[in-house]
């Protein structure tokens, strides 16, 4: 079964995302927000696989991003990624001086 909408436990819904993005200058409605999110996730998953030295077909990444657990995991990975960035900033003496 091909799901278009996936619910996650924490985060924003597509309408809120669309409103925020419109405020930031990227005019869109909720369906566009969903399409951008899904295509972005496909690219993100594919990019991670290639960075880790694996190959992933378009259909595999398409199948993955339609799963709710993958959405939850991507949230964790994004948090980890941003946390790493923040830790780099803390440990960087130049950033601390600024």
């Amino acid at each position: 079964m091909n799901h278009k909408y996936i619910t996650i436990t924490e985060g924003e819904d597509y309408r809120t995302i669309a409103t925020k993005m419109t405020d930031l200058g990227y005019k869109m409605n909720h369906a566009t927000a969903r399409n951008i999110l899904l295509s972005g996730m496909r690219k993100f998953v594919g990019n991670i696989a290639s960075e880790l030295g694996c190959s992933m077909s378009e259909s595999d990444s398409q199948r993955l991003v339609m799963r709710q657990d993958i959405h939850e995991v991507i949230g964790d990975v994004l948090t980890l990624c941003l946390k790493e960035q923040q830790e780099e900033l803390i440990s960087c003496p130049v950033a601390n001086q600024q």
Partner: protein, 247 residues
């Protein structure tokens, strides 16, 4: 409580009040007070409230910590004063202030000892430790020289001595809370930087690898995609957009 305007107590009036107060006490078989005249007790406490301020000013006004806790110490002192009123026996002929000062100091000291160390040492162990150290000081001996004869002399059991030894070895001033911040500039607690046993090195390395790959993968996305992805997980992307627009 404003003590400056309260009436000072004269000795005869106090004795009479204490005698009246004693007559109102209802005691059980063990001498424990079951009921008293509360209003009379409050009256006595108000008449002697300045004594608490006097004791706090005399004994607890030098250290910065005591100055910080002044209001708390005054409250504890008043609790000690109530104990003194309950226990005072005017027929023995001593002045109430002499008797109450010890109760006030005991109450304040007990509060300070309970408040200060991070690791709590029970009061009966503290009392035994102080008793032992007092005796050692008197005889110019060290803690290592404590013998069984000495313990017998002060009536301390070996079990109690083991507890006292543990209390002596506990360097409470070296303890730090896990929730204490690492420094004023870094918004992290000790808990965040102390390595845990539950995460092994391979998991940390894997997490680091994944984070690096995710970072590189994320940077390859367009700004619009990055923003939608972040917003989906409730992460504000206003700063990222502003930074990109600034470039």
């Amino acid at each position: 409580m404003n003590t400056s305007k309260q009436a000072t107590s004269s000795n005869e009036e106090d004795i009479e009040l204490f005698q009246r107060y004693q007559a109102t006490k209802v005691l059980d078989d063990n001498g424990k007070i079951l009921a008293t005249d509360r209003s009379l007790r409050n009256d006595l406490a108000e008449r002697n409230a300045r004594l608490v301020t006097f004791v706090i000013n005399k004994f607890y006004s030098k250290k910065p910590r005591h100055k910080e806790l002044r209001n708390d110490l005054l409250q504890e002192g008043h609790l000690g004063l109530f104990d003194a009123i309950d226990g005072f026996k005017p027929e023995l002929g001593f002045k109430f202030s002499t008797y109450a000062t010890w109760w006030i100091r005991q109450s304040v000291n007990s509060y300070l000892l309970d408040e200060e160390p991070l690791l709590h040492i029970p009061s009966h162990i503290r009392t035994a430790r102080n008793k032992l150290f007092g005796l050692l000081k008197e005889r110019s001996m060290s803690f290592k020289e404590v013998s069984k004869d000495l313990l017998d002399e002060i009536g301390m059991t070996e079990k109690m001595f083991a507890s006292v030894t543990a209390a002596v070895k506990t360097k409470t001033w070296l303890c730090q809370s896990l929730d204490a911040p690492v420094s004023s500039s870094i918004d992290k607690n000790l808990r965040d930087i102390i390595p845990g046993d539950d995460l092994d090195l391979s998991v940390i390395v894997d997490n680091k690898k994944i984070a690096e790959a995710a970072k590189a993968a994320f940077e390859k996305l367009s700004l619009r995609e990055r923003c939608v992805l972040l917003e989906r997980y409730g992460i504000d992307c206003t700063n990222i957009v502003q930074e990109e627009q600034g470039k």
